[in-house]
């Protein structure tokens, strides 16, 4: 993840900024949407909404923070609003579309484990409150504590403590679960 650079003062248009951000962080934003929304249809809508709000936000981009920080702040804001707006009752159920998307069994044990691990990780993230979700997603995207602090607004000490907890939870769940899988 090499995204801590600021846009230089060559005054690119907000269309250019959006294209640049979508190129660099498109996949990360898709992963972020998947951490906030389990339903594929709603996830697609959320992802579109994130891109749309990102494009709008660049009208006010002033290079005071890095492009990456800006992108993640907008994306987390849109996604957290989505979580507050949605009422989750059936989050443990899968839709027909999701069921259809599951690959065949003969793709092998490794693929099945990967899928299961990802599902467990996503389920774990989706249990968290929006602010903690911001931290774990940023951690999984390989950001350092300073970058996470810039995005979330938490102090470095607070971020470090939360990351320590995240590492413990992930180690416990994935090493124990990994042996069983």
């Amino acid at each position: 993840m090499g995204g801590t650079e600021s846009i230089s003062s060559g005054a690119p248009s907000h269309d250019d900024l959006f294209r640049d951000a979508a190129d660099k962080y498109g996949s990360s934003l898709e992963r972020l949407a998947s951490a906030y929304e389990a339903d594929p249809e709603k996830r697609r809508d959320l992802s579109q909404d994130i891109h749309f709000q990102l494009w709008r936000s660049f009208q006010r981009y002033d290079s005071r923070c890095s492009l990456r920080t800006w992108v993640y702040r907008v994306a987390h804001h849109v996604a957290a609003s989505h979580v507050l707006r949605e009422r989750r009752i059936f989050s443990n159920l899968v839709s027909l579309e999701e069921l259809e998307m599951l690959p065949d069994k003969d793709q092998g044990q490794f693929a099945a484990d990967q899928r299961r691990n990802l599902a467990r990780l996503s389920a774990l993230i989706q249990q968290l409150k929006p602010l903690d979700r911001q931290i774990i997603i940023s951690y999984l995207e390989d950001m350092d504590a300073v970058s996470i602090g810039e995005i979330t607004g938490l102090s470095p000490g607070n971020v470090a403590m939360k990351i320590h907890r995240i590492k413990n939870i992930l180690a416990r769940r994935f090493h124990e679960g990994g042996d069983q899988a």
Binding site: R31, R44, F58, V74, A80, N117, L118, L131, Y139
Partner: protein, 196 residues
């Protein structure tokens, strides 16, 4: 391979198809959606007006004090229209994406939770309030008619359902407000921990 970071970063993702063309299209869709939402919100005042006219009609023919019923119906209508104005104003005050980017995740999330709490409280005052008053403007004349004709027992199931509905809406909204307040309290704690 059970390294969570590897699992996370290697997950299959659909490439985003949000081109600039599609974004402009979405802007137009959003304007249309906003117009539809505004029209949809006029349903509540319409129902209030309908209930008022109905109640006044019954009161004029059979019920007590038609002028009092009319006054209450007009008051409920004005209250409901004013309520729509204030609720809409609160809804459109959502944080603009550019502002969200200038503030941290903690700040923008806090603003959003506070806005939701404000809207939830205003819903009881500006939406449920006039609806309950409008219902009263037609229930009271019907009830007085029922008493005179000895048909109150027949109306009991409907009245019970009405009371249960109003109580449920109230309880659900109050629970929402408590949950949002708890979230705000937790954010306050995080902010305090951030400073210390």
């Amino acid at each position: 391979m059970t390294d969570p970071k590897t699992i996370w970063q290697n997950q299959p993702t659909e490439p985003s198809l949000m081109t600039l063309e599609k974004i402009r299209q979405k802007t137009q869709e959003l304007h249309a959606k906003t117009r539809r939402a505004l029209l949809g919100r006029m349903i509540t005042p319409m129902l209030v007006i309908g209930a008022g006219i109905f109640g006044y009609g019954i009161a004029q023919v059979n019920g007590p004090a038609p002028r009092v019923v009319l006054a209450f119906a007009i008051f409920a209508t004005v209250w409901s229209l004013a309520g729509q104005y204030f609720l809409n104003r609160g809804m459109w005050s959502a944080t603009f994406a550019g502002d969200a980017a200038s503030s941290t995740g903690l700040e923008s999330y806090r603003r959003e939770v506070e806005r939701r709490r404000y809207l939830s409280a205003r819903f009881l005052l500006w939406s449920l309030g006039p609806v309950v008053l409008a219902i009263a403007t037609f229930i009271v004349p019907i009830l007085s008619l029922g008493i005179r004709r000895g048909m109150v027992l027949n109306m009991t199931p409907f009245l019970t359902l009405l009371v249960v509905w109003i109580a449920s809406v109230f309880v659900i909204r109050m629970r929402d407000q408590r949950e949002l307040q708890r979230e705000i309290d937790e954010l306050n704690d995080i902010e305090r921990a951030n400073i210390s």
